[in-house]
Amino acid sequence: MNGRFRNTMLVLGLGFLYIPILSMVVFSFNNSRLVTVWDAANSPTLKWYAALLDNAQILGAARLSIEIAAATATGAVVLGTLAGLALARFGPFRGRAFLSAMTTAPLVMPEVITGLSILLLFVALEQAIGWPDGRGFLTITLAHITFCLAYVTVVVQSRLAGFDDSLEEAALDLGARPATVFWRITLPLILPAIVSGWLLAFTLSWDDVVISQFVAGPSASTLPMVVFSKVRLGVSPDINALASLMVLIVAVCVVCSTLWMRRRERQRQREEQMARAAGG
C-alpha cells in the first residue's frame, strides 16, 4: 500500500469522525439562535456559554448525570471484575455457561426491553416490599449498572485471558494466599482493563437516554433526557456550548488516561522481561 493512499484514507476517516464535532464547537460561538445561520457580524460570541451558566435546569441535570455515571461506573466495575474473574479463572464450574450468557445478555438486549422490564420490576418491588421508595437517582443507577456490567465483564475477562497465569501460580507457589495474590498480582495486572472498563461504563451511563427515561422519577432528569426533550423545539445553542465543554473535558481525560496506560504497559513489559531474565 503506498503512503499517499494511506494518508488520504487517514484524513478522510478522521474527517468523517471529527468534522461533525468540530462544526458543533464552531457553532457554539455563533450569535444566531438558529443552528444553520452563521451570524457573521456578531460572531464569535461567548453568549451561549454565559446562557449555559444561567440555565439551572441544564446544569442540575449535568451534575446529576455525572453523579449517576460515577456511581454506575464504580458499581459496574466491582461487579464486572468479580464476574470477569469467575469466568476467566474459576475453570469450568457448574453454571459457568449460564453465568456467561446472563452477564453478557444486556449487550444484545434492546434498550427498550431492558428499560421496561426494570421499570416493571421496580414498580412491583415497591408494591411488595416498599423499596425502592419512588424513583430517581438510585433506580437510574441500578438500571445503568445492569447494562454496564456486561461491558466491564467482557473487558476484564479478555484482559485476564490475555495474560500469563503462571505469574499467579508462581505467587501461590511462593506461599501467598489467594486473597494476597488477587490484591498484589492480579489486580495491578488487570488495572488498565479496570480503568478502561470504568471509563466505558461512565460513558455508557452518561449518554443513555432510553433506559433512564423509563426508570427516572420526579426531579431526576439526566442531561440526555433534558437535551432530548428540548429537541422538540429545536436544540438551543447553549446545548452546543455545553457539548463543546464536554468534548474538551473528555479530550483531556482520554489523553491523560492513554498516556497513563501506555506508561503502565511499558513498565509491565519491562518487569516481565526482568522477571524472565532473573528466572532464566
Binding site: R33, L34, R135, Q213, P218, R232
Partner: protein, 380 residues
Amino acid sequence: MINVPVRAAAAVLIAFTLAACSGKPAADKSAEATANAPEEKVLNVYNWSDYIEPGVIAAFTKETGIKVNYDVFDSNEMLETKLLAGNTGYDLVVPSGSFLYRQIKAGVHSTLDKSQLSNLGNADPAIAGRVAKAFDTDNAHSVNYMWGTSGVGYNVKKIKERMPNAPVDSFAMFYDPKIVSKFADCGVMLLDAPSEVLGTVLIYLGKDANSEKPEDLAAAEKVLLSVRKYIRNFNSSAYIEALANGEACLALGWSGDVLQAKSRAESAKNGVEISYNVPKEGAVMFFDQLAIPKDAKHPKNAHLFINYLLRADVAAKNSNFIQYANGNAASKSMIDASVTGNPNVYPSEAMMQKLVPDLPESPEFNRLLTRSWTRVKTGQ
C-alpha cells in the same frame, strides 16, 4: 427516534393494565387515607417540554411556598408508558385527549375535587364541552390546559416563488399531487402522527375525520401514496427548526409549533417568513389536559396548581409565551392581540364548527391504521 419502540412498549402496558386494572384497590385506599393529612410542600409536575411561561412556576412557589419539581417529556407514548406502569411519583401530568381517554379507561387518573378548583368558572364552556363529549365525560378527570389545530405551516416567499396563487389555506397543498409536486424541491414535511394525519386526509376528501370504515382508510392511503414521493419526511418536531431556518418550505404541523418557528425566524433575522393557516376544509383539533394520577402523593398541591393555572392572568401569560390557545375564556382579554386576533390560533365561530377532535380509535382499527401508515412512510 425512540418513538416507535416506546409506542410498542406503551401498547404492551395498556393490554397489561386493562387486564389487571381491577386488582389495584389497595393503592386507592391508601391514597384516600392520606387525603386528609397535611401534605409536604412539594409538587411533581410532568409536562411537555417548553410548554409553560418560565416565570409562572416561580410565582406559584412564591405565593404558596410549594416547591415545584418540573420535569418534561416529548411524547405522549412515554408519558403513557410511565403512567400505566404506576407509581410515577408525579402529581400532575398533561396527556393529550385521545391518550387521556385510554388512561381514564385504564383507571390511571383520579376524579378531580372541583370544590378545590374555585377558578373553574374561568374555563371556556365550549372547549370543556368538546372535551367532555370526546374524551372525559363531565370533565370529571381533567381540565383543559391548551388546545390547537394541525394545519398548513409554510414559508411565504418560497411558496409564492413556486406558485403565486397557491391555495395556502387548503389541505390541497399537501394532498393534491399537482400542487404539492411544485414544492417538493424546497422540502415538504408531514407530522408523524398517524391518526391525526389520517383525519386531515379524510377532511380533505370530505369525509368524517374519525371514520373507521376500511374503505375510507383505503381511500386516504391512496391519496397519501400518490403524494408520497413529494414528501421529504414524517416528523412531529423537527419541522419547527426546519421551517425556521428555511430547510423546509411546507409542513403539516401543530399551530403553536409553527408559530414558534415563525418567531424564531423573526428573531434570527434570516429573511424567512413563516405563516400558519387553519385549512378552510376544517381541521383536526387536539387538547392537552391537566390530570392528576390516582397514586399522586400530593393531590392537594396538584389541585392548587391547576387552580393557579386556571387564573385568567396566569393562563394569559402562558398563551402569550407558547402561542397556543388555552381553554380559559376569562383570560382571552388579557392575551396579546397578536395571538387572540390571529384567526389561525383563535379561529372564527364558523371555523370552530368545522374543527373536529382526534377521537381515540378502536384497537382493531388502530392495527389497520398502523399497517397502512407503515406502507405510506416506506412508500410501498
